[in-house]
């Protein structure tokens, strides 16, 4: 039931937001997002005291109701460790994302905030669904608000960029639908339920087909090369809040789904195809990092750095050992926090200088020391300095990858070196040195801007210094997924 409350609150708020006009809408949206965050945090204390062992246990988080009788689809939502982590990530980032729009002039803001809250509803739905088709519905539903956010509030290239994004992701998800229907008929109990799907073994001749149908869908969403071409343009032309939603939460749908829906359901095929999948991920890390070094556009640089980071997360998942899975989950949380901080900084810079060109900027530190400090902390988090949140995740991921194969770990480890290269060089050009334009006065951050950046910086250190609760949270389910690997 608690899950249902968490899920429905954004939906109801999204409808109510439409009734407001002017600035009331954004305050209401913020109120809704914060109350959902509070419920989530309170739920944590219920969560750690609830006995989640035994898949059939009826606990306060499970809500299972028959929805469609034939073919049988249940409205089955529940939470385990990874679901809770993703729900927490979503609800943690939403207030920050909403707050980051407070200083901007947004046309028809009631529709804008309504779409953001609707997006929150769909994303939460993806993370708590335990029925395949229900999960699929939320997966597609998440596409609609982000499409309209980008189409209505994006920059001048928005029309062609968003249609590419939409068709790309929809193509992947339709293949996944095909995979689910196949699973339904292969499965002797004829069910889409996750518990049923993980229990029975699909014939190994059928597993390959299902693997590829699912893999393409997730590879597009994550994105893993060569399915990434929609991503840099979309990040560039979407409004900042849209980019934050996309990079902070939506691409986690892909990595989350790898753990939830791919590994435990078709283990044999995963083992068979892992070398190729990991190779793609690691190649993506190197490729995206090299491109990021060459970028002069700040938003594009961040987009490519994001490809590199999630490539490592996906590689860690495919390594399929407890360190890899745990590391990927920690890193999903860390990357979500860091990347929205980075995009917010880029947005602040663009708003004051009307430029995204790294070579045309400089000397921000001279007039805006506070901003420069926050920016540096977020960058350090993103290049995984010890004591920041990025470190523990990347360490575990590389450890997991090393267990799988030494050479892959070496290439994967390049992400740390190359990441430091492009991030620090970018910081040097943007924030240090002398201002290229002597008349430009870069105003320092204050008010809501500072609240957002400060919160992000606190979170970066908090999760970096105390990773233990998060690790304990995800351990049982990571163990469950890893056991599947040993059983294969």
């Amino acid at each position: 039931m608690l899950t249902l409350v968490l899920l429905l609150l954004p939906l109801i708020s999204s409808a109510i937001t439409l009734l407001f006009r002017g600035s009331t809408a954004k305050y209401f949206a913020l109120l809704s997002a914060i109350s959902n965050l509070i419920i989530t945090v309170l739920a944590y204390f219920v969560f750690i005291n609830t006995d989640l062992k035994g898949e059939e246990t009826q606990n306060i988080f499970v809500f299972n109701h028959e929805w469609i009788s034939s073919p049988k689809i249940n409205f089955h939502i529940a939470m385990d460790g990874i679901s809770y982590l993703m729900v927490f990530l979503t609800n943690l980032l939403l207030p920050l994302i909403i707050l980051s729009g407070f200083k901007r002039e947004i046309n028809r803001s009631h529709i804008f905030y309504s779409l953001i809250l609707f997006m929150q509803f769909a994303l939460l739905g993806v993370f708590v669904s335990f029925d395949g088709i229900l999960y699929y519905l939320f997966w597609e539903l998440a596409l609609i608000p982000i499409y309209f956010i980008s189409l209505n509030w994006g920059d001048k290239n928005r029309v062609s960029v968003t249609i590419k994004f939409f068709i790309y992701t929809l193509a992947g998800s339709l293949l996944m639908l095909f995979g689910f229907i196949c699973l339904y008929w292969y499965n002797p109990t004829h069910s889409f339920d996750w518990n049923d799907l993980t229990k029975f073994q699909v014939l190994s001749t059928h597993q390959g087909l299902i693997f590829w149908l699912f893999f393409v869908a997730y590879a597009i969403k994550i994105p893993i090369i060569p399915f990434h071409t929609w991503q840099p343009n979309t990040y560039q032309s979407a409004p900042t809040q849209g980019t934050m939603l996309l990079s902070g939460i939506m691409l986690k749908m892909g990595t989350y789904s790898l753990i939830r829906w791919l590994l435990p359901i078709v283990p044999t095929a995963v083992t068979e195809w892992t070398p190729l999948a990991i190779a793609l991920c690691v190649a993506g890390i190197v490729y995206a990092s090299v491109i990021a070094i060459m970028q002069t556009d700040l938003k594009k640089l961040l987009a490519y750095s994001s490809i590199a980071h999630v490539g490592l997360i996906a590689a860690g998942i495919f390594a399929w050992n407890i360190q890899g899975i745990q590391g990927s989950l920690i890193q999903m949380l860390a990357h979500g926090i860091n990347v929205i901080g980075l995009f917010y900084c880029a947005d602040i810079i663009f708003n004051r200088t009307q430029s995204n060109n790294i070579n045309g900027l400089g000397g921000i530190r001279l007039t805006a020391p506070k901003f420069a400090t926050y920016f540096l902390i977020i960058i350090l988090g993103s290049i995984a300095l010890p004591l920041t949140n990025g470190f523990i995740g990347e360490f575990l991921l590389l450890y997991g990858l090393f267990e799988y194969n030494t050479w892959l770990a070496i290439f994967g480890g390049l992400t740390i070196i190359l990441g430091a290269v492009y991030m620090l060089r970018m910081y040097q050009k943007v924030a240090l040195g002398n201002s290229l334009d002597a008349n430009m006065k870069f105003e320092d951050v204050k008010g809501t801007e500072e609240i957002v950046l400060l919160t992000i910086c606190i979170l970066i250190f908090a999760f970096g210094v105390f990773p233990k609760p998060t690790l304990e949270l995800v351990e049982p389910i990571a163990q469950f997924i890893t056991d599947k690997a040993i059983l294969k």
């Binding site: 028809r108 189409l151 068709i167 339709l174 339904y184």
Partner: protein
């Protein structure tokens, strides 16, 4: 049976209204009458009966599809009052309305026939009325072309249909569905070749009526040339009636001999999907785009017919309902926009998202439903069809259908992109109240169907 008789009476009323100078009352009466007949129709639910020596057979299938046809017509007649408001049209209003009601009569016969002769009568009643209506815009060259083209090709197809019926009669000595079924099931492997040829000819004729490739060439020109309201009738009512008749024919007569025609149906299904979707990609005329979208939807419904199983009828019914609701919503906008801007181009919608956001949202929802995106009825329609087809082992056909769904998204989003992305033009677009009503009802019904599909799927 009562449904059919009452509807015919409504048609006669329209003709008589001219004499008694009741023109103003025609459309309200028809809309009200159809709503009453719709509720009377529900009385036949779970009361199967047969009439006129088994010419008409009322069962749950026919009641469901009659209800759908009546609902579609109620919506479309609500749109017609504004569509025919010009003085020139008002002169002929009773003719137009009467003929359109007779289209519905034909459709009702087609969904409840128990005898091949009745099928032919239904198809002819429907088609002849449509030939007239397609050319009803007398001063427009393209409307004349549409009527003429439709008539020539349609008449030719009627010949095929009749020839097929004659051959089947020759083989089985009966026009009655029950007798033909008995003949097929009792003769096993010994079925006369005449019967097979007859079946193929009838299938060709039906493929023409549902505008499946390669018999689809008439559809885009006729849809584009006809007045927009008539196009809406063709692509919703007529297509669904034809599909219901096709399904009834196959499930009652040809079930055992279908594998002889399976290759033909499969090829036609694949061709329909690809031709419909690929050609729609390059259209910039909204009406023509909807015509090709109708062709591609015929492809999906053909997939349901190929994978014919015990509960395919409810799947087909669900799909048809979802398709009809979203198409009517799209047509309501098209008709309104054509009336105001005098342009059928998609770019006449430019900037609608800013000028009339509610209308834009509703049209967007209709397009998303047609594209098969959840949570609208269009998604579950496709999902059920894919699921049934996969269960019966047609995985390659489902894969082709999925590829086509991906292609389809592009052109269904074209109007959406125009509304939100294009630069605004000057014309103010405001909908008459009846249009808003139809639009809202259709979109809300489509959403409800998408959220509670169980209400419908367990119906038949």
């Amino acid at each position: 049976m009562n449904t059919l008789i009452y509807t015919a009476c409504l048609g006669l009323f329209c003709m008589l209204a001219e004499i008694f100078n009741l023109r103003k009352w025609i459309i309200p009466t028809v809309v009200l009458g159809l709503a009453v007949i719709f509720s009377l129709n529900l009385n036949d639910w779970n009361h199967p009966s047969s009439h006129y020596n088994d010419m008409l057979r009322v069962d749950n299938f026919s009641v469901a599809f009659s209800g759908l046809a009546l609902l579609i017509c109620t919506f479309l007649f609500m749109l017609s009052s504004d569509f025919y408001r010009s003085e020139e049209n008002q002169k002929h209003i009773s003719d137009y309305m009467a003929i359109l009601v007779f289209v519905l009569c034909g459709a009702l016969m087609m969904v409840s026939f128990g005898n091949l002769v009745m099928l032919f009568l239904g198809i002819e009643t429907l088609s002849i009325s449509l030939y007239v209506m397609a050319g009803s815009n007398r001063n427009d060259l393209r409307s004349n072309e549409a009527g003429f083209k439709y008539f020539l090709l349609g008449a030719f197809t009627s010949g095929f249909l009749l020839f097929g019926i004659a051959l089947i009669y020759g083989a089985s000595n009966s026009f009655n569905l029950q007798d033909i079924y008995t003949y097929v099931s009792s003769n096993g492997n010994n079925i006369s070749p005449l019967f097979i040829v007859g079946m193929l000819l009838m299938i060709f004729a039906m493929l023409f009526k549902i505008s499946a490739a390669p018999f689809h060439f008439w559809a885009p020109d006729v849809y584009e040339g006809s007045p927009a309201l008539v196009t809406a009738f063709m692509s919703t009512l007529v297509k669904i009636a034809a599909f219901a008749a096709f399904y009834r024919l196959i499930s009652n007569c040809f079930l055992f001999t279908l594998q002889k025609a399976e290759l033909i149906l499969t090829v036609s299904c694949i061709a329909t999907l690809f031709i419909g979707n690929l050609t729609a990609l390059v259209q910039d005329n909204f009406k023509r785009l909807l015509a090709f979208s109708g062709i591609s939807h015929a492809g999906y419904m053909l997939l349901a017919i190929i994978s014919l199983q015990s509960n395919t009828d409810s799947v087909l019914f669900y799909y048809a309902t979802g398709y009809a609701l979203s198409s009517i919503a799209a047509f309501a906008v098209v008709i309104a926009v054509i009336g105001i801007t005098n342009s059928e181009k998609i770019n006449s919608l430019n900037g609608l998202g800013k000028k009339n956001p509610i209308l834009a949202t509703l049209l967007t929802m209709a397009m998303l439903s047609l594209a098969g995106i959840p949570p609208f009825a269009g998604f579950f329609g496709k999902y059920f069809i894919f699921s049934e087809a996969l269960r019966n082992g047609y995985s390659y056909l489902v894969l082709i259908a999925i590829i086509n769904s991906i292609i389809g998204v592009y052109y269904y989003l074209k109007p959406v992109m125009a509304m939100y992305g294009g630069a605004a033009n000057q014309d103010e677009i405001k909908l008459p109240i009846s249009y808003s009503l139809v639009l809202w009802t259709c979109v809300i019904l489509s959403l409800l169907l998408g959220i509670f599909p169980d209400l419908f799927v367990t119906l038949l």
